[in-house]
């Protein structure tokens, strides 16, 4: 036990070029003077993490454990003629070798297009062609290198543009695959999915416009660069088919379903035990090491098998954020009113479809941003190439969409001669407006967010561009966005009172740094008026933890919070009943007070404060106190039909926010420095304010990398910068950004205490705001990110 005086949140550094404030727009189920909710609480997982005792994926070890290693394809696209494993099997210490022939059935969440190990052909460099388990990591790697594969190289589809010619097909026959109802491949093409939204008539809208502006924008391919690489340790019993996997995954039940399918066992046979996660951001949503570790364990007689990817494998052969090429056309009246807007987009999704249908879908609904657009259209296509696999990356494509629409807003504003913020404010959505699905918009504080973000950088006092005393080109940019959370989705929790009166929350919402293991107990502490220290989140294990869809889409606090509040109401009823038994009265004569006291209505002397319930004896040999909470959004969801995607309620919750950036550009070196970032996000209600700020601050630096540095560079399907030297992510040296953050609280009618989501939002407008500021500073329409020094040095200035 740590002999520790009580630690307290430290906020003394909030003045030094880093401030935050709170803007209350609307309160829902909150007075603002709650005891626990709304106040910064120290993270419950922090002591484990600073002492190095928190166990992450690769920290789990078992006696008799084998080590896995993979033979990976050097070719981005090739037919497999033969795989010979004899030499590999002969390496001392090798216990199992698995090839594609062992598991020929492909899998996939949306379309089953991917084998766990390549079978007849490889579709990206680094695709697994064989797996080995051995007594030591060295033996496993040596054996993997000795697997002989005869390849017949095929033409490589390196770029989106080549893929769109459909000359070489990555998947020759989509119809062979088991396809879900939410994925739309086109037979005989490289199109793996598509999305079409249509509101009104864009042609009519363009005809009504005084000005029609067209532009394009491209977002480069990014790697999540999680510091913890993918890993899994499996024990799979070949006789009983019981499978257990220890993994740092953000989607325990999603992975359980996939594993059950791949291995042909009922879901209850698959047990996923979750470790701490060393960064996820969507990158640990797919099954990567899990199925291969299971296959190796099955083949080695049930020995534990650990498979951990190294950094090069992580870059080449896990997941990434897809490249997207967007085109946008906007019709606008002279007074700045948008009459129509049309977005067309092409994703380079890599070799397998994976989560791209979800990326395409979410980005589709966000492609026009939080603006009033009477005639709107979106047509986007997911194209396959011989590159690593695209997936979710903190925002499911919405970051890319925001970069597009905000770049266009700046161009249109300039052509109209309007100030960029004024043009946005003229068109932005307010409560009661119609969104692009025909939904009547509510709880939408985009104007408040835009104004606050602008104020946070002193927008009004700055010109669009200026030159500072050192000769740097300076500029400001602003961006706003709207992002939906995946709907419908469900969650559940069990809240269990221990014999001493403390509480466990069983919930599959995964802690991945966003702080959900602190916010969930905050809800319970507030509801029951109980000490936060007495409430903790139980470890997550799919055999015990109740169902939650996934920890994605910024949905955890909103959904789990609702479930926990429901369970806590039941806890109160159960405690009143137990007290009634003890006091020999009817249960209706006992009440649970707002102050957390179990109180006899008749006899004021009979009262048990919640924090003393363990000592009170009311639980002794009585029914255990155990409550269930559920929350789902199927009932409110109006499914958007495939033709046009019009819907009165496409999502339970829109996230809204805005950020403004000030940059300076060195005209000699092309180096960009982000000087200031002002942010304002409508979070509904800040449950743990420091937790919200951490999300936004971290996202600002992450997005700075996306805007200015990061890009996976492929040549003929070969990744040229798959390491942390050549693929640059922001370091401490890039963190010197003056930030001011406004937490806008516009309570959501269905959110617990009005809460919305904040996991993804901070990233969404960051790159867009920075790119806008760089464009202004350089007087250039840079039409892609990252904007690197060479783009700046060879820029062509805008004419108008």
């Amino acid at each position: 036990m740590i002999k520790q005086e009580k630690l307290r949140p430290c906020e003394k550094f909030q003045q030094e070029g880093r401030e935050w404030d709170r803007l209350v727009v609307h309160r829902k189920d909150t007075t603002g003077d709650e005891a626990v909710v709304g106040h910064t609480q120290l993270r419950k997982d922090a002591v484990e993490k600073v002492t190095g005792t928190a166990l992450y994926g690769a920290d789990v070890n078992f006696p008799g454990q084998l080590y896995g290693a993979l033979t990976r394809s050097p070719h981005p696209h090739a037919r497999i003629k033969a795989v010979r494993v004899e030499k590999a099997k002969a390496v001392p210490g090798v216990r199992a070798v698995v090839t594609g022939a062992d598991y020929p059935e492909p899998y996939g969440q949306f379309i089953a297009d991917q084998p766990i190990i390549a079978l007849d052909k490889v579709r990206y460099q680094g695709e697994p062609v064989a797996a080995v388990a051995a007594e030591t990591e060295e033996a496993a790697r040596e054996a993997a290198a000795l697997v002989e594969v005869d390849y017949e190289p095929l033409p490589v589809v390196n770029t989106l543009e080549e893929s769109m010619k459909n000359g070489t097909l990555i998947h020759e026959d989509w119809s062979r695959y088991d396809c879900s109802s939410v994925c739309f491949p086109v037979q005989g093409t490289n199109i793996g999915d598509q999305f079409h939204l249509k509101k009104g008539d864009v042609e009519k809208g363009f005809a009504e416009a005084d000005l029609v502006v067209e532009s394009s924008f491209r977002c480069g391919q990014l790697q999540h660069t999680l510091i913890e690489t993918h890993t899994a340790t499996a024990i799979a019993n070949p006789y009983t088919q019981d499978i257990q996997v220890w993994t740092p995954n953000q989607s325990p039940f999603g992975i359980r379903g996939l594993m059950a399918k791949i291995f042909g066992v009922p879901a209850e046979k698959v047990r996923l035990t979750m470790t701490h996660i060393g960064g996820a951001f969507g990158g640990k949503y797919e099954a990567k090491c899990e199925p291969i570790a299971i296959a190796l364990s099955l083949k080695s007689g049930g020995r534990p098998v650990k498979l951990t990817y190294d950094r090069h494998e992580e870059f080449e052969a896990t997941v990434c954020r897809s490249t997207v090429q967007y085109y946008i056309k906007t019709g606008v009246k002279k007074d700045g009113t948008i009459t129509a807007q049309q977005v067309t987009g092409y994703w380079d999704a890599g070799a397998y479809v994976t989560t791209n249908p979800r990326v395409d879908y979410n980005a589709g609904f966000a492609a026009h941003g939080p603006y009033k657009i009477p005639n709107a259209q979106v047509d986007t296509y997911v194209y396959m190439t011989n590159r690593t696999l695209g997936t979710a990356y903190r925002g499911f494509g919405v970051t890319e969409a925001a970069t597009l629409h905000e770049h266009q807003m700046d161009i249109v504003a300039r052509k109209l001669g309007m100030e960029p913020l004024a043009f946005r404010l003229h068109n932005c959505l307010h409560d009661g407006d119609e969104g692009i699905t025909g939904e009547i918009i509510s709880t939408c504080a985009v104007e408040e967010c835009l104004r606050a973000a602008a104020k946070n950088v002193g927008w009004d006092k700055l010109p669009d561009r200026w030159v500072d005393e050192e000769g740097n080109l300076c500029g400001k940019g602003i961006a706003c966005f709207n992002k939906l959370t995946g709907t419908p989705s469900t969650t559940s929790c069990v809240v269990k009172m221990n014999e001493n009166g403390s509480l466990y929350i069983w919930s599959a919402s995964r802690e991945m740094g966003q702080g959900v293991t602190t916010t969930m107990p905050q809800f319970a502490a507030e509801a029951l008026h109980m000490d936060l220290d007495r409430i903790s989140v139980a470890p997550v294990d799919t055999t015990m933890t109740p169902y939650d869809k996934t920890t994605t889409s910024s949905r955890s606090t909103f959904h789990s919070g609702n479930a926990i509040l429901e369970a806590c109401e039941d806890i109160k009823r159960q405690l009143c009943r137990l007290a009634a038994v003890k006091w020999g009265c009817a249960p209706e004569n006992v009440t649970y007070t707002a102050g957390g006291i179990i109180q006899s209505k008749k006899n004021p002397a009979l009262a048990i404060p919640i924090n003393e319930v363990g000592k009170s004896g009311i639980m002794h040999e009585q029914d255990p106190v155990l409550a269930i909470g559920r929350y789902g959004t199927s009932d409110i969801f109006d499914p958007p039909p495939v033709d046009g995607r019009q819907s009165k309620r496409p999502t339970v919750m829109w996230m809204i926010g805005a950020q403004a950036a000030v940059v300076k550009v060195n005209p000699v070196t092309g180096r960009v420095k982000v000087v200031k970032m002002g942010a304002a996000h409508d979070i509904g209600k800040a449950i743990n304010p420091t937790g919200c700020l951490q999300q936004i601050e971290g996202a600002i630096v992450m997005g700075l990398g996306h805007a200015l540095m990061e890009e996976m560079i492929y040549e003929e399907g070969i990744l040229r910068n798959g390491n942390m030297v050549d693929y640059k992510v922001p370091t401490f040296m890039d963190s010197d950004v003056e930030t001011k953050i406004t937490l806008v609280e516009n309570g959501h009618p269905e959110g617990p205490f009005g809460v919305k989501g904040i996991g993804e939002p901070g990233l969404v407008p960051t790159a867009a705001a920075i790119a806008g500021a760089v464009c202004h500073a350089c007087n250039t329409d840079f039409d892609s990110i990252p904007i690197k020094p060479e783009h700046i040095l060879f820029r062509k200035e805008a004419e108008d």
Partner: protein, 189 residues
């Protein structure tokens, strides 16, 4: 594989071990001593997650061979807390909100200790420069710098209180005059 016999002190505990000559310090610490705070992030010296203090100096343990450890001292994040009490830098990481997913945290703490040996009262610029080798994807780094500054304050306060009470100044794990002097002279030369 040839082996080497080493006498090494890790977190104050002496060990006598026979190690393969190609084993890295990272794997020695994780696999032989079960000190899993030492994280592998890239295995090529770029991410800093495996940073440990070797004779007071921060090293990427993935780039050091265990065979080189004979007669030397290693400090990992497991060695920071003492007698059930957190190190002021650990406290500061918690209080300043410098921890999110936590994977980079042990390496960050060790780099922070090394920085404080080099600059007992660092500026933010010095913190950014000296801790640049540790990559964090969650926090945006600024709260980590806050935590270092808060730790400085905590240690200064503890020393001042001890002096005022006429007690010997408290010592903090890893904050070590012997090593800092040696490292400073090497670093600056």
């Amino acid at each position: 594989m040839k082996t080497a016999e080493i006498h090494v002190t890790v977190n104050g505990v002496p060990y006598e071990k026979s190690v393969p000559c190609n084993q890295t310090l990272l794997r020695f610490l994780r696999e032989d001593l079960f000190l899993t705070s030492v994280k592998e992030g890239c295995d090529e010296g770029e991410c800093g997650a495996c940073t440990v203090l070797l004779d007071g100096r921060p090293v990427n343990s993935c780039l050091v061979l265990a065979a080189e450890l004979d007669g030397r001292e290693v400090l990992t994040a497991e060695g920071l807390a003492e007698d059930g009490r957190l190190h002021p830098l650990q406290e500061a990481f918690i209080e300043a909100g410098a921890v999110q997913c936590g994977y980079c945290t042990p390496g960050m703490l060790i780099s922070g200790i090394a920085l404080l040996n080099l600059y007992p009262h660092p500026t933010r610029e010095q913190i950014r420069k000296e801790m640049e080798g540790n990559i964090c994807r969650c926090t945006g780094y600024t709260r980590i710098a806050d935590a270092v500054l808060l730790a400085v304050e905590k240690m200064d306060t503890a020393r001042a209180e001890a002096r005022a009470a006429g007690l010997p100044e408290p010592e903090f794990r890893g904050i070590d005059g012997r090593f800092s002097e040696k490292w400073n002279s090497q670093y600056q030369s």
